[in-house]
Subunit: 365 residues, 2 copies
């Protein structure tokens, strides 16, 4: 029996045990082939079955209508930051970006490298260090925007959109850190992208979901082929060799997620986790100080808070580690504690943490 | 004990057993962390050790001088096809491409999308279906080329450069299918890139080796960040989340390659494998017809040959599979048989195949 810790890393992050065990069991002999899934041609029928199942499970779990394509790419959110404007901001098209944190700013900066002044900030909460999301009246939309880009969950700051930005334009969303945390209506989205390494699988796989009308806008013929969404869509994400092992783990995780009841069951767990964690924080307002200043904006995926002193923060991280809990140190620009509670973190895991927190307050509060 | 076959796939391809076993053993608990290597932050010291070791092993096995940087990227050779001209063909720079096969043509086509007429073909053997390499007198070099691009091993056609193209320009090489097949002098190379999935590890990791003076030419400030070699070099390939599990397997494979004696030992094995396989083919010129028409150009990594009829070809593939050997079907555009004998294929594996071939000739010749 392997020693396992409780993993609160922000990404790459913990994965459910069952999909990993499945990978371990068949690491040398996958599907009776006598080969690892890493060793099989991406054109072989055994890999093709995994690839197809991963794509189908994304569709099924998200309830995607027929007018969406699913792509499995590489390069993480960073390469998507570039591919989106490269594909969509041809012919002088313009876009609005919603700036709600570190990652949203990166997406904006990369888009501006491609689109220059055609890429505009429609809202920003930088004045409050991104400690809340924009309110309904704070968006300055441009009527000529071809799309509106936003970041559904702000990993660094710990805010999360429960309702999506109020616009009729196609939404393009970096959903890396909260995709599949709950069911949601995808019909307003033109494109969703997510690095797998938070809620879906290992790093090295990017899931891109793109609506047919947005795909049709990607007409750039002079773009290098790897950067063209259309080519990947036409080739069923087998234009070039995919990251086969990553796709395989993604398939394992999604199959597991389906087996435990899909996104409704996952949402119920995530809400319980949030109640436990925020409940504990709010019971001790003199000891745990949340970074996020609007309760409605609090994230169910990343929870940032401060302790009274640096010394107590260090002690918290160290003692948690002694108690089998890792990954709690806050992001470098913010400090304090960050608890990342992605889908693979269980209600029990969070209960263990909150019991530790209560105990920590008792001893040090 | 797992059932294992002899794997002659062209890529993704077989890996040595030891690195895979190591991965299997610690898949749920890596380096005493209580986590899979897939589940650890790429900023954690345990991952950093793997990342650093992978980079060091590339340096050590290839004997890289201090003026080369090693990068671990994503997107495979296809994304490198684009990144090279995007980074290097700024300011009206020009380049010469050597066309020796399917993959070399792809690299050329992608470069032309970026550089247009500034990207020229300096040689091509397409008139003989790429069944040989250009001879010394057949190169039409342009004196204004900033670099010369070539493909060291032509996976589809089965040719391989033993001596590199005769030019004083910096060589840029797609070495995806024969990197580390033997020791070689890297000093003439400005940039080498290789998708890992043939000789190095799983798909989803691209190794890029870049000389400092070539890196200095990459001044494009307006390129999206993920596409800039310079940013990856400055950030030690941790600009964004790397494909951690792929890097880990790469590390395991390279550590194993070092343990068995490094590239000299690997070359000795590869030469024995070639002698066995080409020896068998040449003993039966009426039965096995090689695709490559110049013996000096024959590849030690991919061996293409035809049998007298389609029926015999199908029978060969089927009977080989019954005998535990897979991946022998020829590439779709060429047909026949392709035997890929990358580093992980042992001399014994090839001896098993040639014994089967001798037997096959006896029964059907």
């Amino acid at each position: 029996m392997s020693h396992r810790v409780i993993n609160f890393y922000a990404g790459p992050a913990g994965l459910p045990l069952e999909p990993l065990k499945r990978a371990q069991d068949e690491l040398l002999d996958f599907a009776g082939t006598g080969m690892s899934v890493m060793e099989i041609s991406h054109r072989a029928k055994e890999y093709d079955a995994v690839h197809g199942e991963a794509l189908s499970l994304v569709r099924e779990l998200l309830g995607l209508p027929a007018n969406f394509k699913v792509l499995l790419l590489q390069g993480g959110a960073h390469l998507s930051f570039a591919m989106i404007p490269l594909n969509l901001l041809q012919s002088g098209r313009k876009a609005d970006y919603v700036l709600t944190g570190n990652w949203a700013e990166k997406a904006f900066k990369e888009a501006k490298l491609v689109g220059g002044d055609n890429v505009r900030a429609a809202a920003s909460t930088k004045d409050v260090k991104f400690a809340r999301l924009p309110k309904a009246g704070e968006y300055a939309w441009n009527s000529d925007a071809a799309y509106v880009h936003f970041t559904s969950n702000n990993t660094v700051e710990g805010t999360q959109f429960k309702e999506f930005p109020p616009t009729d334009k196609p939404l393009i969303c970096d959903m890396s850190s909260d995709i599949m945390w709950r069911p949601f209506d995808v019909s307003k989205f033109g494109l969703i992208y997510a690095g797998a390494q938070k809620n879906l699988g290992p790093s090295g796989v990017t899931v891109v979901i793109i609506r047919d009308d947005i795909l049709e806008m990607c007409e750039a013929q002079d773009l290098p082929s790897y950067l063209r969404f259309k080519i990947h869509a036409e080739k069923n994400s087998l234009y070039n060799t995919p990251p086969c092992f990553g796709v395989y783990i993604l398939r394992n995780v999604l199959a597991y997620n389906k087996s435990i009841g899909g996104l409704s069951a996952i949402e119920a767990n995530n809400r319980k986790k949030g109640e436990l964690l925020y409940g504990c924080i709010d019971r001790h307002p003199g000891f745990f100080k949340p970074f996020v200043i609007e309760n409605a904006d609090r994230s169910f995926m990343n929870v940032d808070f401060f302790l009274p002193t640096e010394e107590l923060t260090d002690m918290f991280v160290k003692e948690a580690k002694k108690n089998g809990m890792v990954g709690l140190k806050g992001y470098r620009d913010i400090g304090g504690i960050r608890v990342s509670t992605y889908n693979a973190v269980t209600v029990d895991n969070v209960a263990t943490l909150t019991a530790f927190m209560e105990d920590f307050v008792k001893k040090n509060g």
